[in-house]
């Protein structure tokens, strides 16, 4: 329940995965083949099987549609209004939603619709970039640590522990403050959030790798003289891909919430640039009298995170064959 990085969902997922791994209920990633005893008439490729299972999960499909809609809205929504997000409509301050300003205007006379679209775009970019980068780092660090063991493992575990002890929110805020008003861009945020976001996943990747590094195919590759790093990239990481996909999805939500929280306190995106967090911070101070400034960005923020979590849930059910939540495989 730490609000700071708002990574509950992810932390929870990691702990669940670990506990199920311990309990032996989480199926360790198989060699990617369909079961031998499957009826040949009904044999499906793994991809089709996963797709079918995912499709059967209604909320996951709804999640995909919502997310798709949000992408379209974020990149084409600016055509819905003739105002740009930074433009000031003089003498139209704090106006109710109307035909010329669908979501109303702010105290400075800026169009809330245009600002929401712009903020959504930012949040989506941050979410996807952070998810991509931090899952990549987690995959590489976690699997290298487990595969090579020894010094590499001890060092990376120590770094992971160190980064977990440090309060990421405060450190990111310090660096962003140090960069001053000019430094509040999207890329510094993406890098900083990534830097403090990969550790928990790396731990799970490590414990998964430990369980597959003694498999026959890994050993075979080793005795054939394949170099260690090649084994990791070619044989280990592809076989933990289901975990990585789920992890990346949850990271999108975590990153979006981290950005919103930072911007809410003024440590993220800086005015006149706009993100959902800055808009919510602006709106919450006058929520009782002018609720629309708060409403628009909050609705889109919640929609985005809900969609991501629905998709993540559906993926987990589809990719983890032993999960009871998935029902029977077709």
């Amino acid at each position: 329940m730490t609000e700071f990085v708002a990574s509950e969902a992810r932390l929870q997922a990691e702990m669940e995965a670990e506990s199920r791994l311990e309990a032996g209920t989480l199926q360790r990633p198989a060699d990617g083949a369909t079961p031998d005893d499957a009826d040949p008439a009904k044999r499906l490729s793994r991809k089709r099987l996963i797709f079918r299972r995912f499709k059967r999960n209604r909320s996951a499909v709804v999640g995909v549609f919502i997310y798709g809609f949000l992408i379209v809205f974020a990149f084409f929504g600016s055509h819905l209004t003739k105002w740009s997000y930074s433009e000031i409509h003089r003498r139209h301050y704090l106006e109710n939603p109307s035909w010329s300003h669908w979501f109303g205007t702010t105290q400075a006379g800026r169009d809330v619709l245009a600002m929401t679209v712009h903020g959504l775009q930012k949040s989506m970019l941050i979410g996807m970039a952070v998810a991509l980068f931090s899952t990549t780092i987690a995959a590489v660090v976690g699997s290298f640590a487990a595969y090579f063991g020894g010094f590499i493992e001890r060092t990376s575990l120590w770094v992971i522990d160190l980064l977990l002890v440090l309060p990421s929110f405060l450190l990111i805020a310090i660096v962003m403050t140090g960069r001053g008003a000019s430094g509040g861009g999207v890329w510094p945020l993406i890098i900083l959030i990534t830097l403090f976001n990969w550790m928990l996943s790396a731990r799970v990747v490590r414990s998964l790798t430990q369980s597959i590094k003694d498999r026959d195919y890994v050993r075979a590759a080793k005795y054939m003289g394949v170099r260690g790093p090649t084994i990791v990239f070619r044989h280990i990481i592809p076989n933990i891909s289901s975990l990585l996909i789920i992890d990346a999805t949850l990271n999108v939500a975590a990153a979006v919430l981290a950005e919103t929280t930072l911007s809410f306190f003024g440590f993220g995106i800086q005015s006149p640039d706009t993100s959902l967090g800055t808009l919510i911070a602006d709106g919450q101070t006058k929520v009782t009298t002018f609720p629309w400034i708060f409403a628009a960005p909050s609705v889109f923020l919640v929609l985005m995170v809900v969609a991501v979590n629905f998709i993540g849930d559906g993926l987990r059910d589809a990719l983890d064959p032993n999960s009871l939540a998935s029902g029977k495989a077709a």
Binding site: M1, T2, E3, F4, A6, E8, A9, L11, Q12, M15, E16, S19, R20, A23, T25, S59, W158, D161, L162, L164, V165, L166, P167, F169, L170, L171, A173, I174, V175, T177, G178, R179, A253, L257, T260, T261, F264, F265, G266, F267, I280, Q284, V287, T288, P291, F294, S298, L301, V302, V305, V306, V308, N309, F310, D313, L324, A325
Partner: protein
């Protein structure tokens, strides 16, 4: 065993020391307390700015390594330094810890207890209507950032107050004006606690019910639960004595780990409901260029994380007989 624990503890202390040192160097190089003096009107001469900054060990003209050792010397004696314009960091923190404690205790306890009950209950009713509804709503609440939850609660409370022309819901600070008498004082505190507690508890209920449900689903299908029933226990007994107890272990670990973090994790709730706790302090030290303050908060958080890790070990030891032996 004792040797193992001692080594672990030593490792923790080293980890904490490195973390706080890193935070000091980061804060001392990135924050600029000098700015606070430079913007003052009428302007202050450079010499007197330096003098004030020197007094608080915040002068950026002095090498950062020298400042670090001065600071470390004070910390060893239990003094965490001063804010850029004076004001002891120790005083701030010792007052705010209690504010945070009063704010988060009830909310988090309610959150975990109700969450576990709800999660365990829905797990036994998998795919029934009640399970579907609870699962759906807990996902929605988990996806709603607490800043949205808190503001919406505040909005609803204001509407309620306006509609019934009452002052029942209070949402600024810990205490307000109230009639004399102990009972009224407690009532006043309760009114102020209500909304932030609901906000924190809601988030907790949603999170824990999902964790508990998913783990419980795994244990409900386990062989030992079936064995227990085969031995003649009723379904209810088997669920309570075997499935629930096992399923509490991961939840407990998670709870112990997060409870310590709540101290500074409630910054948003504190901001929205105007409580002066640790979370808000962490934020205000950074915007106030308060190097010493923010490093103290980092150290405090680090201690919390380590205590949380330790607590979760203890909790596992209590619930899991395999660990005790």
């Amino acid at each position: 065993m004792a040797r193992f624990l001692a080594r672990r503890l030593l490792n923790y202390v080293v980890l904490l020391f490195v973390a706080v040192t890193a935070a000091y160097f980061l804060a001392a190089t990135q924050l600029h307390p000098r700015q606070l003096y430079e913007v003052s009107n009428p302007p202050i001469s450079e010499a007197s700015i330096n003098k004030s900054l020197d007094a608080y060990n915040l002068n950026d003209h002095e090498p950062v390594i020298d400042r670090y050792f001065d600071w470390l010397g004070d910390v060893v004696h239990g003094d965490w330094g001063n804010a850029p314009k004076g004001g002891s960091v120790n005083d701030e923190i010792s007052a705010r810890i209690w504010v945070s404690l009063r704010l988060v205790t009830i909310g988090s306890v309610f959150g975990v207890i109700l969450g576990v009950i709800l999660g365990a209950w829905t797990a036994t009713r998998q795919y029934k209507l009640s399970d579907r509804i609870t699962t759906f709503w807990s996902l929605i609440i988990i996806s709603t950032p607490i800043l949205v939850i808190a503001v919406v609660l505040k909005l609803l409370a204001t509407k309620f107050n306006q509609f019934f022309d009452s002052g029942f819901f209070e949402f600024t600070g810990e205490t307000g004006r109230h009639a004399p008498g102990r009972l009224n004082a407690w009532g006043d505190r309760f009114q102020h606690l209500l909304l932030p507690t609901v906000a924190l508890a809601l988030a907790g209920i949603a999170t824990y019910s999902r964790i508990q449900r998913n783990i419980m689903l795994d244990t409900l299908g386990a062989d030992y639960v079936r064995t227990a029933q085969a031995k003649g226990l009723t379904r209810r007994q088997a669920v309570f004595k075997h499935a629930l107890r096992t399923a509490l272990i991961p939840t407990g670990t998670y709870f112990a780990f997060t409870i310590a973090l709540l101290f500074i994790g409630a910054a948003i709730t504190e901001t929205i409901f105007s409580w002066r706790g640790m979370g808000v302090y962490g934020v205000s030290t950074i915007s106030g260029q308060d190097t010493n303050g923010v490093v103290a908060v980092v150290a405090f958080t680090g201690v919390c994380v380590l205590i949380g890790g330790f607590l979760s070990d203890v909790f596992v030891a209590i619930l899991d007989p395999r660990v005790r032996q």
